[in-house]
């Protein structure tokens, strides 16, 4: 310490006065010297940068935006939006409100946008789409007093729940899709409550997705660890051949692999027929191994296995045999040597493989869609459903965002517990 202190007076001025031979500050000269190579480097990565921006950052931003923004109602119903803004939440709809509604319904008829608005409201209150389309069709016939006129068209307009939903939808920005994604909703009084039990699907599906993904991760670890160890300890000549077998699934279409499982596992499939033929099970007791959770678990474990084997292998390969030998020579049985020496050294590989498989499993779509049946569906299948069938893109975006957040949380936890530097993917 004393040495450092005595050095300091000499060291500090020297650092400040560093100049090049012709008297320019050293830092500026260095920056100038490196600028050219930096520009060249940027030029080289530019295509990738643009590609990532266009195909990845922008769509994800869009998706996140869509999950909190839907202006189908607010854009097409200006009068009612104005009334909602002027009144307190929970206000009974008065004549003025119905007048605004009648004016907007006329607009919907002119612009042919009744279906769009009806769909938006329908997201949160099913059956209301036809309310909008049928009433809008006859909007020109509406005369004051509008309340009576509209209710005469359809009694459904008196539903306080409908007015609550419309009030929520009157703002383009809403958290309702997130609420819906976790089985919650706004009640008529504006409070947040759980949806009726028969419509609670998303939370359970999230839980099932995470539970199945965790189970699949554990299964791939149990199956993959010995394979990776074998690959790592065999002479390179043999391990290369085995490695091809591990990688073979990558070269086969996912559909082919999944279909192969259907052939094997279905009721009249190879495994069931073999079991019946050998008399292990009766013909009327054929096992249901596909189009349910079992099918999803078996097929996904198989498909994700390489993602566990490869990181494990890359961690195990450089571990010299002398560590286990040292433990053995020091008096440890082979089990003890494995548990206290070999296993701890492979933890980064387990963590990397586990993280990789879990994240892939959480977002897996095609396999559960093909072999999952009803009980083997995962959250991504529902996201796909909302994207392609129900066309509720905002809800799909909210569900996907929650999934993304969960994965990021996991990643953060991993970094905190194990450290991202320890991640070895191959």
């Amino acid at each position: 310490m004393a040495d450092l202190a005595s050095d300091a007076p000499f060291a500090t001025p020297a650092r400040e006065s560093l100049k090049t031979a012709d008297g320019k500050p050293l830092k500026a000269a260095l920056a100038r010297a490196q600028a050219r190579s930096r520009r060249r480097a940027l030029f080289l990565v530019l295509p990738l940068l643009v590609f990532i921006l266009v195909t990845f950052v922008f769509p994800i931003g869009q998706m996140l935006f869509r999950s909190v923004h839907n202006d189908a109602f607010s854009r097409n119903m200006p009068n009612l939006v104005a009334w909602f803004e002027a009144t307190e939440p929970g206000t009974e709809p008065d004549e003025a409100a119905y007048a605004a509604l009648a004016a907007d319904l006329k607009l919907l008829r002119e612009n042919r946008t009744a279906g769009e608005v009806g769909t938006r409201v329908n997201y949160e209150l099913s059956g209301s789409r036809s309310l909008f389309t049928s009433t809008a069709r006859r909007a020109n016939a509406l005369e004051p007093p509008f309340r009576e006129a509209i209710l005469a068209e359809n009694e459904g307009w008196a539903d306080p729940r409908l007015w609550q939903v419309m009030r929520d939808a009157s703002s383009a920005y809403t958290a309702n899709f997130y609420l819906a994604a976790v089985d919650l909703m706004h009640t008529e009084t504006g409070e947040i409550a759980r949806v009726p039990p028969d419509r609670q699907i998303y939370v359970n599906l999230f839980l099932r997705t995470f539970a199945l993904s965790a189970l699949i991760t554990v299964l791939t670890l149990i199956l993959g660890y010995p394979i990776a160890h074998l690959l790592a300890t065999l002479p390179l000549r043999y391990s290369n051949i085995l490695m091809i077998l591990v990688l073979l699934p990558f070269w086969t279409s996912l559909l082919v692999r999944t279909t192969a499982w259907i052939v094997l596992l279905q009721q009249q499939g190879v495994i069931n027929s073999t079991l019946v033929a050998t008399g292990l099970i009766a013909d009327d007791q054929r096992l249901a191994m596909i189009y349910n959770q079992t099918g999803t678990i078996i097929a996904m474990t198989h498909i994700l296995l390489p993602f566990m084997v490869l990181p494990l292998y890359s961690v195990m390969r450089p571990i010299p045999p002398s560590y286990v030998r040292a433990a053995r020579s020091l008096g440890a049985s082979s089990w003890k040597a494995f548990r206290s020496v070999y296993f701890p050294m492979t933890v980064p590989g387990i963590a990397a493989g586990g993280l990789l498989v879990f994240i892939l499993a959480v977002g897996y779509y095609i396999t559960p869609a093909l072999v999952g049946g009803a009980s083997g569906q995962l959250i991504s299948n529902l996201i796909a459903y909302h994207m392609t069938d129900s066309l509720n893109w905002s809800l799909a975006a909210a569900l996907a965002s929650i999934l993304l957040a969960a994965v990021l949380l996991l990643y953060w936890l991993y970094d905190r517990l194990i450290g991202i530097d320890n991640l070895k993917l191959g």
Binding site: P320, Y323, R328, L330, G331
Partner: protein, 367 residues
């Protein structure tokens, strides 16, 4: 068989053979007996079978044939963790996820030794290698030499009677290596342990060992104390492998008890001590150590054999001079002289007369 009868042998290899592929033998008929407390070095080029022998003794390789005995007990079927042999590995093999203390506690823990005794033993072992202050460090935070000391302490902490070392100093720089050689030697003397040491570095083997077993091609070429190995090599391989060596090829003219006359390629006749040569007319390789060759008339020993030489190159090495000469048609005959009073720089092209005592010229088998 002879080894089996040896009384008091601590480590015995009895007709041990080892093959990895069933086609070639890596170790061919090895017989070796070590008394307790000996420091024995297995020396040889890579692939000579020395490490395989060590691994068989440690229990990581099984002998294809023959018996290995430790304190009179056959250990072929004993798993490595029940042999009670300490071992130091080339890359140290310190467990990277444990501190130095935990590394040393490992062999004590598996033996069920209580905490207090464990700590005392660890402290003693670390003090022994002068690493007492580093107990809480991880191996990655230590230098190569420090890791080496910890590895040594770990192999000794559970008081094994036999310690195996597999090229433990291979990764250290020259100075540190020489320093550690002495420390290991002292530990051996102070603790009275039996050590089997594997190396391919001949100077290491000569400095440290009680006896050296020179391996080549799966066979012990010579098993002898260092001085005997250096001064009386049993065959050309040992002469070649240990130290520097001039070799002059020739044909035996006459063998008479302790003296052989060899005709060199250029037709000159020289005297040599026959070691393992055939009779008259058989080919031989005469081996002479460079430091046993002299050129100053007053230094050439009486009764020496003298021969003409032409200086080709003179290298100044500080404590010694090295002269490369043409002798009897061979261009790489080396003479090594101590930088002493009366010595001078020889000039290339200079013609001199060199000489050596016939005992120092050994007629060996041709390689």
């Amino acid at each position: 068989m002879a080894a089996a009868q040896q009384v008091g042998a601590f480590v015995e290899f009895d007709r041990v053979q080892k093959s990895y592929d069933g086609e070639t033998l890596v170790v061919k008929d090895l017989n070796l007996a070590m008394p307790k407390g000996e420091f024995l070095t297995m020396l040889g080029p890579s692939g000579s079978g020395k490490t395989t022998c060590l691994m068989m003794l440690a229990g990581f390789e099984t002998a294809t044939h023959g018996e290995i005995r430790l304190a009179g007990r056959p250990i072929n079927q004993v798993p490595p963790h029940k042999r009670g042999i300490g071992m130091v590995f080339q890359n140290y093999a310190l467990f990277p996820h444990m501190t130095v203390n935990e590394n040393l506690a490992f062999p004590l823990e598996v033996r069920g030794i209580g905490k207090a005794e464990r700590e005392a033993k660890i402290a003693r072992a670390l003090d022994m290698v002068k690493m007492g202050k580093f107990g809480n460090r991880r191996p990655a935070q230590l230098s190569g030499g420090q890791q080496q000391r910890v590895a040594l302490a770990r192999a000794l902490v559970f008081d094994p009677e036999l310690v195996l070392m597999d090229e433990p100093l291979g990764a250290l720089d020259k100075q540190l290596r020489e320093h550690m050689q002495f420390e290991i030697k002292h530990l051996h003397e102070n603790l009275g342990i039996t050590v089997v040491y594997v190396t391919h570095d001949q100077s290491e083997a000569l400095t440290m060992s009680d006896r050296v077993a020179v391996f080549n091609d799966g066979v012990i070429q010579q098993l002898a104390p260092p001085d005997e190995l250096y001064e009386r090599p049993a065959n050309s391989f040992v002469a070649q492998f240990i130290g520097e060596n001039n070799k002059l090829p020739g044909v035996i003219e006459d063998v008479d008890g302790g003296r052989a006359t060899v005709r060199l390629a250029t037709g000159e006749l020289i005297d040599a001590t026959p070691v393992n040569v055939g009779g008259r007319g058989s080919r031989t390789l005469v081996s002479i150590r460079p430091e046993r060759v002299e050129y100053l008339p007053e230094r050439i020993p009486p009764g020496a054999h003298t021969i003409e030489a032409e200086v080709l190159e003179f290298i100044y090495m500080g404590e010694s001079f090295r002269t490369r000469m043409r002798v009897a048609g061979s261009d790489d005959f080396i003479m090594k002289n101590r930088n002493a009073v009366g010595q001078r720089r020889l000039q290339p092209g200079e013609r001199i007369t060199i000489g050596w005592s016939p005992q120092d010229a050994r007629a060996l088998d041709p390689l």
